[in-house]
């Protein structure tokens, strides 16, 4: 099963890696590559966050700290030494991971530090790291990276970012997949539900939490290292903004924390929204909607899209198709905006409270699961 999955990931990776080559043939504009790089970036960040938080329930508000360490590792080395930037990426991951493990080593021994106290503590870690880097590395002037040399086979800059971003996202999601399906994942789910009971039934909780945190922070650092090059100029205020924790939380909650695909779904959706409504006219609306969406998800769809979609696949797909067709025929406009509008409709459908849905829509439209079951029983007869 794991080998099949690995093969699947490799195939998806190869197909996507070929995407830049097809630009002439498909005729899409260049910004699509950058758009997709950002989708990969957010996928890596959200998925890495979810390896700890989604699986074990330890809710971190400080993921930006580890991402930031990654950004600053690459930025500092590239600006101050001759080292090729590709080599700094693993280092960025390792340093972020070391920081994570140090925090975990202290925090995970203290049983009272769960829930909101853990969240606060990780938030404080983010600010401490920002303050340390500000004084030791940044000095208040920021670091200017500019263009970095890299091997030719990676293509031009946006192609290179696309490919490397894709690679990191694939690695992260594959790690999340492996954890989800391994002993580690099972143990983390048990910790999520009741840590003391899990420990009593033989789950080495401390070690497992450390492993989850180590992996989670490694991939955050890796993604951060690459993102330094994309940003090209980094400063403390920008890198350690609260938007990073806000977005990874939002993305994972939206997509669903219980499944390895959840954060990916959330990252793609939120990134699409941000891109589609990035026009300054919509800035306020977009920001308000971001915060509002977080609240709405918590109140009306705490289990996230992935779970809801399984139950409401048929109406959701129908609605999506309808919206796409109407837009294509009657309205038009930028393709990412059309995509975003379609997503908005689907999310609205998914957010309808279960009770209400059951009495109104569920009565007429069977769930996907029940259709599957019917087909299966029909085949047996």
């Amino acid at each position: 099963m794991k080998w099949r999955a690995l093969l699947g990931f490799i195939i998806v990776g190869l197909v996507l890696a070929y995407f830049p080559e097809l630009r002439d043939m498909l005729g899409y504009p260049r910004y699509v590559l950058t758009f997709m790089y950002f989708a990969f970036f957010w996928t890596s960040l959200a998925t890495s966050w979810n390896i700890l938080t989604g699986y074990s329930g330890y809710f971190s508000f400080g993921h930006g700290a580890f991402y930031g360490v990654g950004v600053y590792t690459t930025a500092a080395i590239v600006t101050k030494t001759e080292l090729p930037f590709l080599l700094t990426l693993p280092l960025a991951g390792v340093l972020a991971s070391l920081l994570g493990l140090t925090v975990g080593f202290v925090v995970f021994r203290l049983p009272q530090l769960r829930g909101e106290l853990f969240a606060l503590l990780t938030l404080a870690v983010e600010f401490v790291v920002a303050a340390i880097l500000f004084n030791l590395v940044d000095g208040g002037y920021g670091l200017s990276i500019g263009r970095v040399p890299y091997p030719d086979f990676l293509g031009d800059f946006s192609e290179m970012m696309f490919r490397l971003g894709l690679l990191i996202a694939l690695l992260t999601v594959f790690a999340a997949y492996l954890v989800h399906h391994s002993r580690l994942g099972r143990g983390l789910f048990a910790i999520h539900d009741d840590e003391a009971v899990a420990e009593g039934l033989g789950v080495p909780t401390f070690r497992y939490k450390m492993m989850a945190l180590g992996l989670s922070t490694f991939f955050a650092g890796l993604a951060g290292g690459l993102h330094a090059v994309q940003l090209s100029y980094v400063d403390i205020g920008g890198v350690f903004k609260l938007t990073v924790p806000l977005f990874v939380i939002l993305m994972s909650l939206l997509g669903g924390r219980r499944h390895w695909l959840g954060p990916l779904i959330g990252a793609v959706i939120i990134h699409t929204f941000n891109d589609a409504f990035s026009d300054t006219r919509f800035q306020l609306l977009n920001d308000v909607a971001t915060g509002g969406l977080l609240i709405a998800i918590i109140l009306f769809m705490p289990e996230g899209i992935y779970e809801r979609l399984r139950q409401r696949l048929i109406p959701a797909a129908t609605l999506a198709l309808l919206v796409v067709v109407i837009q294509a025929l009657a309205i038009g406009g930028r393709i990412t905006v059309q995509f975003a509008v379609m997503l908005l409709f689907v999310i609205a459908l998914l957010m309808i409270p279960q009770r209400f849905y059951d009495t109104v829509i569920g009565r007429f439209v069977p769930s996907f699961e029940s259709v599957k079951a019917k087909i299966r029983s029909g085949a047996e007869e």
Binding site: R186, F189, A190, D193, A196, V197, E199, G200, G202, P204
Partner: protein, 240 residues
Amino acid sequence: MLTCHNVIKDFGGVRALAGVTITVHEGEIVGLVGPNGSGKSTLINNITGLTVPTAGGIQFLGQEIAGNPPHRINHMGIARTYQIPRPFSTMTVRENVEISALFGMTQGISQKEAKQQAIEWLDFTGLSSYANLPVTKLNLHQRKFLELSRALATKPSLLLLDEVMAGLNPSEIDESVKMIRKVHSSGVTIVIVEHLMRVVTSLSTRMVVLDQGRVIAEGLPETVMKDPLVVGAYLGKDYA
């Protein structure tokens, strides 16, 4: 097999265990009884490592275990049930048991084997028809049996049962008595905490009575129940 030596446990100002010394031999069913608040659950918590004794030692199979992390104690062969069931609430019934099969004594089994074993243990406790339901669908008596399946799935050599029968009806109690006998005859040593005297006295090979964190009597069920100290502890001094 298990020796508690002068175990003391304080909670702030409250002394829940005031120097408990108990030995459990291999093959026994020890009935651990005592009035409410006498420290039975606290003793189990200390043996399984959920809490660490304030003072005193606990040896299992010749090794000191007090202060060890609970998962290591579990891997040495001790499992317990909770007085108030604490299932993993987002999992199905089978997944609950899989966790302990996967992580208990026989480590390193594959997830497939763990699933197989989980199904077997659910068969044993009569829960197999609920295997794929979320645990939230279970009633109290089923949750207690789930506790038992989970503990058994870790393959313990010593099983600590904290009031598995409280709140069950007579036929369910008979069922669980049979089950415990079966577990015992498969070679598991058992310590059973129970308020139902009829059940404990019939099940246990030896009894230990706790009162206010102290052992006040110990011995064969018939003799212990006649001990004036025990009668006094349960009914008040006047009856002694």
